[in-house]
């Protein structure tokens, strides 16, 4: 096969990977882009989630103070967890249960402890995640088939990247090629597609590889294959729960006391999430990031004595787990604060535009090719493959 016809085939493969499903790919890319900044969008829309600092530069409240403030302001609720979002312009999120059996998140000012509001009935973040991640198809038994539908896209996306680079001759010289603005839409979208593709190589690789991991993850789960080194969750032994004469729950250790105990064992752990015991035998859990920003560490304590029952640290992970557990934060851009998210957002938009520009190139080119074919008035239309490939060699 000649070099030329081989590149024609690569070009066709590149076109066909996304073209028949372009709208699906576009919506998945776009909702994913929205999901990256969904927390920021809520920040813009809902003033209650903001962590406004009062005058006088007060220090952050500690977790015990926050818990006391919430219980004072809302004696009707039962607190289940407290978390401090990564970015300090967000209020603390306190998960609570209400007497009517509903649950919600309270947004609490980290400086004053004031309960500023609660999560809206429509959870924008969850909705964009569900739309992007599994096309809203419910999880009934194992992973939702919508999850498979979306995560399967990782493979053609990876193939698009590879074939795109194969058909773009000497692509490494194209990073600073200007986009031609005045030579018609076909030229403009072609230049745009190539230039944004080049600068997005790393991003497309990250998204498609991590996306393919989501497919593998679902397959592993649904075929009951575990690669986890984590043991079953611990419980507080019956003997370790104090027996009390009065019919009342024995007091729990302070959260800050628990964090201090964990810090002795895990230096450098920034406690950002606290889960209170879910029943009499359930431990108190402290979690947070360590030196490796993509993964969480956690420890479980006996809530009555403060004794550490188990921990899940970076050093407990296998090499394989370092890879697999890094996949999700790499996909979502949620591991280094606002700026990483903004980079993911911008490249997510670019990727969505690449789907659109690819489609536009095809339709413009096909229109041209059709016009040319009609002029020639052939007896039979030539196979689509040839029309496309020949028009490509002109461009």
């Amino acid at each position: 096969m000649s070099k030329k016809s081989r590149s024609k085939i690569w070009f066709l493969v590149h076109s066909w990977l996304a073209l028949p499903i372009w709208f699906f790919v576009l919506i998945v890319c776009f909702t994913g882009t929205l999901a990256v900044v969904s927390q920021e969008i809520i920040w813009l829309a809902q003033p209650e989630v903001r962590a406004n600092k009062p005058d006088g530069d007060p220090p952050l409240l500690n977790y015990d103070q926050v818990l006391a403030k919430v219980r004072e302001a809302r004696p009707d609720v039962i607190v289940s967890s407290i978390s401090r979002p990564d970015e300090d312009h967000f209020a603390l999120v306190v998960r609570v249960d209400l007497p009517d059996a509903s649950n919600t998140s309270l947004y609490v000012n980290p400086y004053t402890g004031r309960v500023q509001g609660e999560s809206a009935d429509f959870d924008f973040r969850q909705f964009t995640r569900a739309l992007h991640g599994w096309w809203l198809v419910p999880f009934t038994n194992g992973f939702s088939w919508g999850w498979y539908l979306v995560s399967l896209l990782g493979l053609p996306m990876l193939a698009s990247l590879v074939t795109g680079l194969v058909v773009y001759k000497r692509f490494w010289k194209g990073f600073f090629k200007p986009v031609r603005l005045r030579q018609g839409a076909r030229i403009f979208w072609g230049d745009f597609h190539r230039l944004s593709g080049l600068w997005s190589i790393w991003f497309i690789a990250v998204i498609s590889i991590t996306g393919t991991w989501f497919l593998i993850q679902a397959l592993l789960f649904d075929f009951h294959i575990s690669i986890s080194s984590q043991g079953p969750p611990v419980i507080v032994a019956r003997e370790a729960v104090p027996v009390v004469a009065q019919s009342e729950r024995p007091p729990m250790v302070g959260i800050e006391d628990a964090i201090a105990r964990v810090a002795l064992q895990v230096p450098g752990l920034e406690a950002s999430s606290i889960r209170l015991p879910g029943n009499a035998f359930d431990p108190l859990s402290v979690g947070g990031r360590g030196w490796y920003p993509l993964m969480f560490q956690s420890a479980s304590l006996n809530p009555y004595s403060g004794e550490i029952l188990s921990s899940r640290l970076l050093s407990d992970r296998t090499g394989l787990e370092f890879v697999t557990e890094s996949m999700r934060p790499l996909h979502t851009g949620d591991f280094g604060g606002l700026w990483i998210k903004m980079i993911w957002f911008v490249f997510g938009l670019l990727l969505s535009m690449m789907v659109l520009s690819g489609l536009l190139i095809w339709t413009k080119r096909t229109a041209l090719a059709t016009a040319a074919a009609v002029k020639r008035k052939p007896r039979f239309e030539r196979p689509e493959a040839q029309v496309t490939a020949s028009s490509e060699s002109h461009s």
Binding site: L98, D100, A101, N141, F380
Partner: protein, 180 residues
């Protein structure tokens, strides 16, 4: 492609196909649109906006206390891997007994001891969940036993017919043909 090539270029059907073939995938949008009502009703169920669960079985007096029992979903038990068939119940403690009750358990058949009291409820006293293994051979006429343990060491038990606690599980067991 080769089959298409034998059609004359003028066929309106073929022109329609050529024009729209790459846009048919817009119809995939029907999937999330179709599932949207289900998504929002599930979201309401998970945030407890629909109450304890899809069907409240009633308030069961257990000694000095009581438990409001509900089926999280109005359905029979679900096969969960090696754990076998599991039925999820939800429950709430009576307001006055919240501070006194240490733990609440559910089991098919009367427990022989506190250590075998069954699935323990997890969650806050306002809305807690328990998973109860349902062996396939269980008689449909079996009783669901509630065991409650106080912080002071006291223990109280009560039971209701499974057919009352979960009619769907009762029906499911009837189909399994279980015998007492």
């Amino acid at each position: 492609m080769s089959k298409a090539a034998v059609l004359p270029v003028t066929s309106p059907l073929r022109q329609f196909w050529l024009k729209w073939r790459f846009h048919i995938n817009v119809l995939l949008l029907a999937i999330p649109l179709g599932f949207m009502p289900k998504y929002f009703s599930d979201a309401a169920l998970f945030t407890g906006k629909l109450g304890l669960g899809e069907r409240v079985a009633g308030e069961i007096p257990v000694g000095p206390w009581s438990l409001t029992l509900a089926e999280f979903r109005k359905e029979g038990p679900v096969l969960q891997g090696g754990a076998g068939y599991i039925k999820d119940f939800s429950g709430a403690l009576c307001k006055s007994c919240i501070s006194e009750v240490k733990a609440t358990y559910l089991r098919i058949g009367k427990p022989r001891s506190l250590r075998a009291a069954g699935g323990i409820f997890f969650g806050s006293a306002y809305s807690m969940f328990a998973s109860v293994p349902i062996p396939e051979k269980t008689s449909p006429d079996a009783e669901l036993w509630v065991t409650m343990e106080g912080w002071d060491g006291s223990m109280h038990q009560a039971s209701i017919p499974l057919s009352q606690a979960s009619p769907a599980t009762y029906q499911w067991l009837k189909q399994q043909g279980g015998t007492p």
